[in-house]
């Protein structure tokens, strides 16, 4: 299941700074690299101060041999 995302943004989580938002424009994503796909709750999103969210990146699902 390949997908095309418009007006997409990449979120980079780190322990040093808050969440960084990178503009990623239009993306074509190959289905076999997808893990989770979901609808975002915008109200909940507004209530979160992303500058204060500090977290490690999620560990990879796919190994290098994938």
């Amino acid at each position: 299941m390949n997908c095309v995302l418009q007006n997409s943004e990449e979120r980079v989580y780190s322990l040093e700074t808050g969440v960084q938002f990178l503009n990623a424009g239009l993306q074509v994503i190959r289905g076999d690299t997808v893990a989770v796909l979901g609808e975002v709750n915008l109200e909940k999103e507004k209530s979160i101060d992303f500058d204060k969210v500090k977290a490690n990146q999620l560990p990879p699902i796919f190994s290098n041999t994938h």
């Binding site: 893990a35 709750n41 560990p59 699902i61």
Partner: protein, 100 residues
């Protein structure tokens, strides 16, 4: 030809509105009610909640989520909803079928 048994089993969980925890291959645990499952054991969950929202806040704002079957390591099912006998007898039937 892959067995249809697990799909049927998960359909039963959907009908009984059982809440399960799905553990991905990277260790991320997502809890929620299954609403859909297909041949590839892709899942749809409503109101997904991650087990550790402080350490892993990436998915906390999701209303629902589609989880690709190939990324799933475990599905944790509550003990009282497990139906162990059903699973055991179905596995025995599978083995019999394969021997034939």
């Amino acid at each position: 030809m892959q067995s249809q048994f697990f799909q049927t089993y998960f359909r039963g969980l959907i009908e009984r509105c059982v809440s399960v925890t799905i553990e991905l291959k990277n260790g991320l645990q997502i809890q929620g009610q299954i609403t859909y499952v297909d041949d590839n054991l892709n899942f749809n969950l409503v109101d997904p909640e991650v087990s550790d929202p402080v350490k892993q806040p990436q998915l906390i704002t999701l209303k629902n989520s589609f989880i690709r079957g190939s990324t799933v390591k475990y599905v944790h099912i509550p003990q009282e909803e497990l139906q162990e006998e059903v699973l055991i007898s179905a596995c025995k039937n599978e083995v019999k079928k394969q021997k034939q």
